[in-house]
């Protein structure tokens, strides 16, 4: 019974993947009639005939000389070989290589932030729920409203200013040599940690508050359920009730939001990376944008979307394992 659910979900994910893939192919063609237009060099002093030849050459170079359908097929073939295209940068590096270089650096920030936010958020959320109505709870509620209103990049700037410039506790800007000098030595790791501290803090603040609030709400909702009274009526100890009954139910909706966080894990760091000039996927994308490097941009987009699809799929399947009520039918 569960097996057909799994298969259904996987097939659906593949379907979505193809839709996204196709969209990804067509998006760069928006806004212009001739998709190769964006690749033509400026005419400058060339005569019209010369320019026509250059344009034709450009079209051939970037594969626009064949029909759209054939371009699409080539695109799919490339994907089958895990080729996301070639960047327009000098040296024509492959998109996948560029992503491979920068991705780990983004993950350093995002994964650490996620883990910190989760652990602290869960702990504090449960505490707030337990002390419902008392000051810990009210403080959390206020913190929630405030933290959403204060965008993370603003917090980043403030942290950069106070902890970075004024108090000089951490570097206000990422050391530009950090990536090049990294050699897996303990010293290099310390440099990374030092530079990562402020970005992580900026992102984690919002995350902690968010997870605390969700956990708190979830725990309170569950504590009001009848089966908790039944558990008390059975004479079970407080700890047993908390862990086996309350938390096991309260953490279920949390699994879904964790999944959502994971799918946004990479793309969400763009602004923070920009603030601190951290050389990760975010800044890579922004660089691609400023140089109109369309293959790179769309390659990253596809990568991010695929990652999101996978993350969602895994979350759904994981949730199905946790919650026995999930059946074959659509869970909406």
């Amino acid at each position: 019974m569960k097996r057909s659910y799994v298969i259904k979900r996987i097939l659906y994910a593949v379907f979505i993947f193809f839709v996204v893939l196709t969209l990804n192919f067509f998006i760069p063609r928006l806004g212009v009639r001739d998709p190769a237009e964006r690749y033509y060099p400026p005419q400058g002093g060339m005569s019209d005939i010369e320019y026509k030849i250059i344009k034709q050459y450009t079209r051939e170079q970037y594969g626009f000389d064949v029909s759209t359908f054939q371009q699409y097929i080539r695109y799919l073939q490339g994907l089958a070989h895990l080729d996301l295209g070639t960047s327009l940068r000098p040296g024509s590096p492959k998109v996948v290589d560029l992503i491979g270089q920068r991705l780990p650096w983004t993950l350093v920030l995002s994964v650490t932030t996620l883990i910190i936010s989760l652990i602290i958020g869960l702990l504090f959320g449960t505490l707030a729920a337990w002390r419902r109505g008392r000051w810990q709870d009210t403080m959390l509620l206020n913190a929630s409203t405030i933290s959403i209103a204060l965008p993370s990049f603003f917090i980043a700037l403030m942290l950069s200013f106070y902890l970075g410039f004024k108090l000089e506790l951490f570097p206000a800007y990422t050391n530009p040599n950090m990536v090049a000098q990294f050699d897996w030595s303990w010293k290099a790791m310390q440099v990374v940690l030092n530079n990562a501290a402020l970005p992580i803090m900026s992102m984690a603040l919002g995350g902690i508050v968010g997870y605390s609030q969700s956990t708190r709400n979830s725990v309170i909702a569950v504590t009001n359920e009848d089966f908790v009274i039944t558990a008390r009526a059975k004479g079970l100890s407080h700890t047993t009730i908390l862990y086996k009954h309350v938390l096991r139910n309260a953490l279920l909706p949390l699994a879904t939001s964790i999944g959502m966080s994971i799918s946004g894990l990479i793309g969400g760091a763009i602004i923070i990376e920009r603030v601190f000039n951290w050389q990760g996927m975010g800044t890579l994308f922004l660089e691609a944008n400023s140089t109109n490097d369309y293959p790179l941009m769309m390659g990253i987009m596809l990568f991010l979307s695929t990652f999101a699809i996978l993350a969602n799929l895994i979350t759904e399947l994981f949730y199905a394992i946790l919650d026995p009520r999930v059946t074959v039918g659509d869970r909406r």
């Binding site: 979505i16 839709v19 996204v20 969209l23 998006i27 760069p28 928006l30 806004g31 212009v32 419902r132 109505g133 008392r134 709870d137 009210t138 509620l141 409203t145 405030i146 959403i148 209103a149 204060l150 965008p151 990049f153 603003f154 700037l157 403030m158 950069s160 200013f161 970075g164 410039f165 004024k166 206000a172 799918s263 946004g264 990479i266 793309g267 969400g268 763009i270 602004i271 920009r274 603030v275 994308f285 922004l286 944008n289 109109n292 941009m297 769309m298 990253i300 987009m301 991010l304 979307s305 999101a308 699809i309 969602n312 909406r332």
Partner: protein
């Protein structure tokens, strides 16, 4: 309370829109939100009147990087000598305009999609939900960056993208509510009486969802304002406009950190904060109004703290059987409850 009942409660409580705002006003936190939001709207509308200087004026070379003073209450920018207070005032126009317009358009689209998906069901539902799934997977920020690259850096594009991708959240929520409403008695009665789909949708379902829409829209506006600030910070907005996010980017790029010009950073940050905070407050208060159980037991705790013990004792004492009450003699009465008396 089951999810179904919660949704129904949200649909029924609150009265018309005007009474809703009245109720928000009566709530102390809501009042604060309304005041701040109203103030910001006023500032945005009256910007040309309120701003002491022309915010675009970059000719004041001598006034660069001034600290806050009487002439320039928030100082001036380091790079161009623009008056920060005036920029702040004009910046409110962008945030509020985008927040409100995108929010409202999004509300319209999201509600429409949600109602159609929920009420018509079947193919429409399937189609809409699949579109939602696809849109959810594509990362929004990178997409906006790509689209502004392809279609030009203007706020129109940004608003369109917000609307095109933001309607999914509202649609989902509305759809859940509509599914519940669809099964309620008054809708079924209308359908049985022969009302057309369109009629039921507009006259019955839509009013039932109105509160959810308003509440959700308010919170969405808040979210959009934060997102717009982020986009402007990245430089994706209209290059000629002044926006709070852009001010933050310029502050960082202009060396506010290096020279310690914290007011340049604080001002737009405070602006963003106030705008988002006030809208959020309003939205949260609305949620409390619709769903009273959310009013946490902090009120109960407070109640208990101030509980007068003698009053409680009084209450309990009054429950005792009064010794003095004795059964009195009463004349015989006819008993309508006795078996056998079937006629009145």
């Amino acid at each position: 309370m089951s999810k179904r009942r919660v949704l129904l409660q949200v649909a029924r409580r609150g009265g018309s829109i005007l009474t809703l705002f009245k109720k928000v006003w009566q709530h102390p936190k809501g009042r604060v939100g309304l005041i701040i939001a109203g103030f910001l709207v006023l500032v945005a509308v009256l910007a040309p009147v309120l701003a002491p200087y022309d915010p675009y004026d970059v000719t004041q070379r001598a006034a660069k990087g001034l600290r806050p003073s009487w002439q320039h209450p928030l100082g001036t920018t380091i790079t161009t000598g623009q008056d920060i207070l005036s920029m702040l005032i004009y910046g409110s126009r962008v945030s509020l305009a985008i927040g409100l317009s995108a929010g409202l358009a999004l509300a319209f689209l999201g509600a429409l999609m949600g109602v159609m998906a929920g009420y018509i069901g079947g193919f429409a539902d399937n189609l809409i939900m699949r579109i939602v799934d696809v849109l959810l997977v594509i990362p929004t920020l990178p997409l906006i960056i790509v689209l502004t690259n392809l279609l030009g850096r203007s706020y129109v594009v940004i608003v369109l993208v917000f609307v095109a991708f933001g309607w999914t959240g509202l649609a989902r929520v509305i759809r859940s509510l509509v599914l519940v409403l669809k099964n309620s008695n008054y809708v079924k009665a209308a359908e049985l009486a022969g009302a057309s789909r369109w009629y039921v949708m507009t006259k019955h379902i839509l009013p039932g969802t109105s509160h959810l829409i308003i509440m959700n829209t308010t919170l969405t506006c808040a979210g959009i304002m934060v997102a717009e600030a982020g986009l402007s910070f990245l430089g994706l907005g209209d290059p000629t406009a002044i926006s709070w996010g852009k001010m933050l980017a310029e502050a960082q790029g202009g060396g506010a950190l290096l020279f310690g010009a914290w007011w340049w950073i604080l001002a737009p940050g405070a602006g963003i904060f106030l705008a988002v905070f006030s809208f959020m407050r309003i939205g949260l208060v609305m949620e409390e109004i619709f769903n009273p159980r959310m009013k946490t037991s902090s009120s109960i705790h407070k109640l208990f703290k101030h509980l007068n013990n003698t009053y409680l004792d009084e209450v309990f004492r009054s429950m005792e059987d009064d010794e003095a009450a004795e059964p009195a003699e009463q004349p015989v009465r006819v008993n309508p409850f006795a078996a056998g008396s079937g006629h009145d």
